[in-house]
Symmetry: C2
Subunit: 439 residues, 2 copies
């Protein structure tokens, strides 16, 4: 070994990394989520990690979070990489993808996309600089049926319910309810109100009230009504509509919003009670949402931030194509969820390797027989290692045990004798036929 200086690597804050045992659980989660999305007919796409800055900035948002790419030694003649950045979400790349491939796609286009995204923000609880998002969106030319507003939370519910999470609630609202109510109240700047209400859980009712009075030009009565609306919620659509109407505000947009919200909640009435509820304080700050909005959080730690979120938008890709492409989408914050559970010790580590059977090599002479046995088991779909050298059987059993391999296979010590297999869990050992045996 050289005596050169050693550079002890340390984790980089905001870039999570897992041991093989934890990774095996993450992989099972990713498989589960993908299967759930495909079960509803969503197609996989992936986009490059990189977009041109023009594309990333087309909406003029979040610019300071974007990581730009540079060559360590930029060629004099080729500076174009300086115009590239890592995507910070999967919505902007999806919009660009749809515009670019518009003529190749068949609509309504239902896609899922499970990829890493990057944000150059200060790492803190629940915030990472590299993380995996799992997005589903349905887009169509000109209009998207309300059917999908109800289908998306059902998919998310199905997917998250299979992940053994601490209890969580998916909250639904409709921006038309908010905008219609504020307009009906006579508020001049409903967007400012929406942005303020979106902060309710962070800054409290008093904080929201101050913004409404000082920035949205609301009267104290109007501000009070906005806060009353934000307190409305529950699983029963009719009751929610009744409560809103009791506040005495009328507008066509409000009516329309309540109807849509009622359709979504009504379609989900078969789900377990309380798992999907209306919550009229859910606003989602982003400007582009126009109808249904969704947000889920852990019940015992709502301040941790949303574990999935989304909504309906009227125009996905207007920056990139002269076609109106409305849609509805939800994004699951996989890393945010998973990392929290890892940190809290709630993820039971999986196996350190996928091996189901270790075939022992009792002697150099019997290595060929061990290799043939391994090939036979693999051919039958069983994940199999053949021990890497002839060694004492005790050492080979110890290797399997240390790696959590459940079975050790003993090929016959001489031709014509039986194979045997040992179950390391029970300690039982029995003869077995490699052409028939199953773990």
């Amino acid at each position: 070994m050289s005596d050169q200086r050693v550079l002890r690597p340390t984790p980089i804050s905001g870039f999570p990394e897992w041991s093989p045992e934890i990774r095996s659980v993450e992989l099972a989660w990713l498989d589960h989520i993908r299967t759930g999305f495909e079960r509803y007919g969503f197609a996989s796409i992936e986009t490059p990690s990189v977009e041109s800055l023009d594309v990333l900035m087309a909406k003029g948002e979040t610019s300071q979070e974007v990581y730009t790419l540079h060559r360590l030694q930029e060629d004099a003649g080729e500076g174009s990489d300086a115009r590239l950045g890592l995507h910070f979400d999967l919505t902007v790349p999806f919009a660009r993808y749809v515009a670019q491939h518009f003529n190749e796609l068949s609509f309504p286009f239902k896609r899922y996309q499970m990829q890493r995204v990057w944000r150059g923000e200060r790492p803190q609880e629940g915030r990472f600089r590299e993380f995996t998002q799992c997005d589903i969106d349905v887009i169509n030319v000109d209009q998207v049926p309300l059917h999908f507003d109800a289908e998306l939370p059902r998919i998310v519910h199905e997917v998250l319910s299979g992940l053994d999470l601490p209890s969580w609630t998916l909250r639904v609202n409709n921006r038309k309810v908010l905008q219609g109510f504020y307009e009906g109240l006579g508020i001049a700047d409903p967007i400012t109100v929406i942005r303020a209400v979106d902060k309710l859980h962070k800054i409290g009712a008093e904080g929201v009230r101050d913004i409404l009075l000082e920035q949205a030009g609301a009267t104290p009565e109007q501000a009070a009504a906005c806060l009353e609306l934000a307190a409305v919620g529950g699983a029963d659509a009719a009751e929610v509509a009744a409560e809103v109407k009791r506040l005495g505000v009328r507008s066509e947009l409000l009516e329309e919003g309540l109807e849509e919200l009622g359709f979504v909640l009504g379609s989900l009435a078969d789900l377990p009670a309380g798992s999907v509820v209306a919550d009229l304080s859910i606003a989602r700050g982003l400007d582009y949402y126009t109808g249904t909005v969704y947000e889920a959080a852990f019940d015992d730690d709502p301040g941790y931030g949303s574990i999935c979120a989304g909504g309906r938008y009227e125009d996905l890709a207007g920056q990139f194509i002269r076609r109106r492409l409305p849609g509805v989408g939800i994004s699951i914050g996989l890393t945010r969820i998973f990392a929290k559970l890892v940190a809290e010790g709630r993820i039971a580590p999986g196996r350190s390797c996928p091996t189901e059977v270790l075939v022992a090599v009792p002697s150099a002479e019997r290595r060929g027989e061990a290799l043939r046995t391994g090939a036979l088991l693999r051919g039958r779909g069983i994940n199999t290692e053949v021990f890497h050298q002839a060694a004492k059987l005790g050492k080979q059993i110890q290797y399997a045990s240390r790696k959590g391999i459940p079975y050790v296979w003993f090929p016959p010590f001489e031709d014509g004798k039986d194979h045997e297999v040992k179950d390391l869990g029970s300690g039982e050992q029995a003869t077995a036929d490699p052409a028939l045996w199953r773990p």
Copy 2:
């Protein structure tokens, strides 16, 4: 629609992206490769896309290809992102991972890693700036049995054989054969010879000869012997060894190398003839290989570059930890292979969506029945869409046909009647029970 200016997005050179139909094939490939790796007991790990530049540069190589990360608006107080770069392979991150998690891992550690990597090089045929590599490595403390030198090409053979590729050959050599031969010849600088021979297929025998004479200090006789050695090859290990010995050079290292090469080829003798062969011109330019080296290329386009490559190294992570960690690994250049076949039209597009059944909605009144039928089919593991609105059946069948969905399901028009299912391939329609039917 706004009349704002539209930014027509264009593909960024070197960053491939696929339509849903092509992506579905890529996804099937990724699944196939992963299954192949797991079948031999390799465990999945992933590392962040980002490493500190200290880590990326620890070997002092390929620095100009590294993409460094910068914030678009760097905070005055927090310039640390400027010390981060995207990984350019999976070996350096793996070395760092093993050093960092050394005490958590169980050895020999067999891992696979299928991730994107980035290289800021000029895009050209077969060279991308973002691409997916599929790596397997076995590492151990102090020594790694030769067993794995033979197992890795077997895995790669099994995996690539399942991908319906144009014919390819996996070539094997051993650096000890080269180094031992050059030393036995009395050449002072064998590393320069290895680097020159590595370019044989690019610059030809004359080009190599020139380097040997001018840079490696070889005599014309020595150079001729080196080129004779590079011409040796074939599937029969004994014949290869005999041919080498006929060249009249002797050294202990050469003997050792020929024995190892013989072991590897002998272990793979059951594979189809010609699929794995010795080729003593294979050198692999990288300094860290010390024994077996591998390289595979397409037979009809060897100039395209290697589609997989690897070898044995004596010290994976010496820059990061004071433990000797030798290993052997192979990397499959997934994107390089896949993109070529896509460009040549050799990838038959898959389905545009994973949906197996579209449940038709004959009328608004029967929507509930359609939704229940969809849930029932999904619960049985069948990927099912329910049409997003009540519409003429012809329109719904057309939607399925356009998307390549093979079956359309008709729930009963009234209670008590039968379900029917139409096979769009054959045109046949028959009654079916949603609790029993299989596609």
